[in-house]
């Protein structure tokens, strides 16, 4: 079962020629190679559907339901034992490897922690299962301290639902490092965490890997994170590794066109973008949309607390806030999707009524975050685009039809898309259709709520471009709601920073980025990962 490392590559884990196919016979990995040395972090980068998670889970000899291993091997050469090929090990031996020699940190801790078991149990069970020769309780406390969590009795007795997202993720990391494994596979462990927490988790990972000389395989779609964390990087596209090398090499002198396009798509705070200046403030006359004293509470929780905001004609205002800041509530309040408790809204100086008139509904339009949920799967694209026209305008059927085709052209979707259903469209195409639906009534204000966060980076860049073009062509003012400050230069003229239901800072993009006034803004800027780390 054990053998010494005769090849002598020095890598702890080495995957070669890995092929995986669905049980239906479609191949999803076409011969993937990667290797990780002790104390090294290899980032496996790719967009959704690239097969990065499948490739990484193979390191634990695990293939998800519906997938089967069809070729290639994974050699393991740890500090204490070696295996020629993890994929041919008998089930019982493989079980002894998982969690002890090779461990896994899952993407979504909310789904991967058992809601019915206490935190202490979920960390200690991995020690008990592999016969840890030491004091289990002591090791649990030690490893929880390592990841920056409390380790007192009361914390160990908590259930997952009593922890924050960041704490849950650190419990997952603690369980993965408990047995001091030789290899750790981290599957996008910071998804859904805000930038400050993400930074802390990444620091923890870096620290643990260096201290215990673990080989780490870090799966991510975020090149900016890679720049600050990894030693080497392998770029995956459609089931293949298209480029691999050191982080500096790949990110500064990419060779494969796909890598280049990925890098170009990453929003960058330091990139200089040419834009026309848009008049705002007193010299621009009446604000297009004015919010004064907006407030909203759910029960005892105050979500919005006295928001004052102006949107000027033709400008793009970035509303920046992390999860829980109230940004979606504010955006939906502006779009009339929900009623605010206090405060007043005015469009061109005229107060917005509740319920809104057809003219007002036409003038302020809203684009939803996820294009996978915002289009009725049982309607054609044209059918969805026609809904606002039918209910908010007097256009007859041929006129509506013409307007729909016109609008599809505006978002760069050709006429053939009119008769298609959302199920047959990619995420980017769906979001284009959703944007077209919002623009079809020729609004003055477009509220875009995290419209790129459900999309891959390259698609995100294309959508941001599209929005800029459309705004230039139509002169629509935009409120761009996001958690990602890195997009600021690409999209916005001004920024309003929202924290805990209040606007803590407001100003032009230049002012806020160059000279942030509020501590929270400074903190955000400091923790946002950037490609600059390799330059």
């Amino acid at each position: 079962m054990s053998s010494t490392n005769e090849a002598g590559t020095g890598c702890t884990i080495e995957c070669s020629g890995l092929r995986v196919a669905t049980t239906g016979g479609r191949e999803v990995l076409h011969g993937v190679d990667y290797a990780v040395a002790p104390g090294e972090i290899l980032a496996l980068v790719g967009e959704s559907g690239s097969g990065k998670t499948t490739a990484a889970l193979a390191a634990l000899g695990h293939f998800r339901a519906g997938l089967a291993h069809t070729g290639g091997s994974i050699r393991f050469d740890g500090h204490t034992e070696s295996h020629e090929d993890l994929l041919t090990l008998p089930a019982a031996t493989l079980r002894g490897v998982r969690g002890r020699l090779v461990s896994y940190v899952p993407q979504d801790p909310a789904l991967s922690l058992n809601p019915l078991l206490r935190i202490g149990t979920q960390v200690s069970e991995v020690l008990v299962a592999h016969g840890y020769d030491g004091d289990v309780d002591e090791r649990v406390r030690e490893v929880l301290t390592d990841v920056g969590l409390d380790c007192d009795e009361s914390f160990l007795h908590r259930y997952p639902h009593q922890l924050s997202g960041g704490q849950q993720q650190r419990v997952g990391i603690a369980a993965a490092f408990a047995n001091r494994p030789d290899v750790v596979v981290l599957d996008e462990p910071t998804t859904g965490l805000d930038v400050t927490t993400q930074d802390l988790v990444l620091d923890t990972v870096r620290d643990l890997v260096t201290r215990s000389r673990t080989a780490a395989l870090y799966i991510t779609h975020d090149l900016a994170v890679v720049a600050g964390l990894a030693d080497r990087v392998a770029v995956m596209q459609a089931g293949e590794v298209v480029e691999a090398g050191t982080v500096r090499q790949v990110l500064t002198t990419p060779e494969h066109p796909y890598t280049r396009s990925l890098i170009a798509a990453v929003p960058d705070l330091d990139r200089i973008v040419e834009r026309d200046t848009v008049a705002s403030g007193a010299d621009a006359g009446t604000p297009l949309l004015q919010v004064s004293g907006a407030g909203k509470s759910y029960g005892r929780a105050t979500v919005l607390d006295g928001i004052d905001l102006e949107l000027w004609p033709g400008e793009c205002l970035m509303l920046l806030g992390e999860s829980g800041s109230g940004k979606t509530t504010l955006a939906r309040g502006l779009a009339g999707l929900l009623d605010l408790d206090t405060g007043s809204l005015a469009l061109r100086g005229e107060p917005l009524t509740t319920p809104r008139s057809y003219v007002q509904l036409r003038s302020v339009q809203y684009v939803f975050q996820s294009p996978f949920a915002s289009l009725n799967p049982r309607r054609t694209v044209a059918g969805s685009l026609e809904v606002p026209l039918r209910h908010l305008t007097d256009l007859d059927a041929p006129a509506r039809r013409a307007r729909v085709v016109d609008m599809l052209g505006q978002v760069r979707l050709d006429e053939t898309f009119a008769g298609r259903y959302p199920g047959g469209l990619s995420g980017g195409e769906r979001q284009r259709a959703a944007i077209a639906r919002a623009l079809v009534t020729a609004p003055d204000v477009l509220v875009c709520d995290e419209v790129t966060s459900a999309l891959d980076v390259s698609v995100q860049a294309a959508i941001v471009d599209l929005l800029a073009t459309v705004r230039r062509e139509l002169g629509t003012a935009m409120l761009f709601v996001t958690h990602n400050i890195a997009l600021a230069r690409e999209v916005a003229d001004r920024i309003a920073v929202l924290q805990g239901g209040r606007i803590v800072e407001q100003g032009t993009v230049e002012e806020v980025l160059a000279n942030p006034q509020h501590a929270y803004t400074r903190q955000l800027l400091e923790h946002t990962p950037s490609m600059a780390a390799v330059r």
Partner: protein, 289 residues
Amino acid sequence: MSAPAVPAGLLRRTFRRRQARIGAVLTLVVVAVALLGPVLGPLLTGYGVDDFAGRPFRPDGVAGTDDLGRDVLTRFLAGGGPVLLYALAATAIGIVGGAIAGMLAGYSAGDRTSRLDSLIMRGGDVLLSFPQLVLALLAVAVLGSSGWLLVLVIGITHIPRVARVARQATLSVAGQDYVLAARMYGVPRRRILATEVLPNITGPLMVELGLRLTYSIGYVASLSFLGLGVQPPAADWGLQINENRIALIVTPWGVLLPVLAIAVLTVGTNMITDALAKESADTTGEAPA
């Protein structure tokens, strides 16, 4: 992040499954017997439905005679109509009523100012506190036995059960952004329910349809079997079992034929239903193994 399963072509995909095809064949055989039997029976056996063929419980003819001396086979061939008709009618009432009640409840569940949801669901709880058969018996005791009363009672008792499923499905759809979008565009509630919600909950509703049909057949047949459904001298499978069961040892066909017909029918509809359920839960879109 993923949208709910789209039941486009659900029926087509369902009948690609072997199980659904077997179910369809079983169901069609029994339906054919029920539809053609009343015509074919007298031609095959030479006896009318109410004709006396001989003395009671004699093994004369193909399947013997019944408690009054009528030909069992003729009466069997003629007896499938009532159970099919009543079961279909009861199912229709249950599905239509349940879908409407469930969609209204589910759609108004998010609205704090509306009490419609709790009103509908609590009303349903009351109906749900009776086994369906027991409520039907209560109705028969008070109003006397009649076919259409049974249809009404069984249909009504289906409503809260279907409504629960429809409400659950509506809740998951009503939270989707495309429904919110339709609201934002001022689309009226009836239209939202008809064009945004209903097309997206046909999967669970189809499954309920099959399930309720299977149960309706069982209830209608059971009530006739208890002597409280279809009344003599009509020819009906449930009633026929009731009439002939005392002579099970002498002339078993009088019981066995209708029992088998009901068994084949319910097994057939249930197989189709199960295939529907599997297919609408399957979102991978890959062909069944």
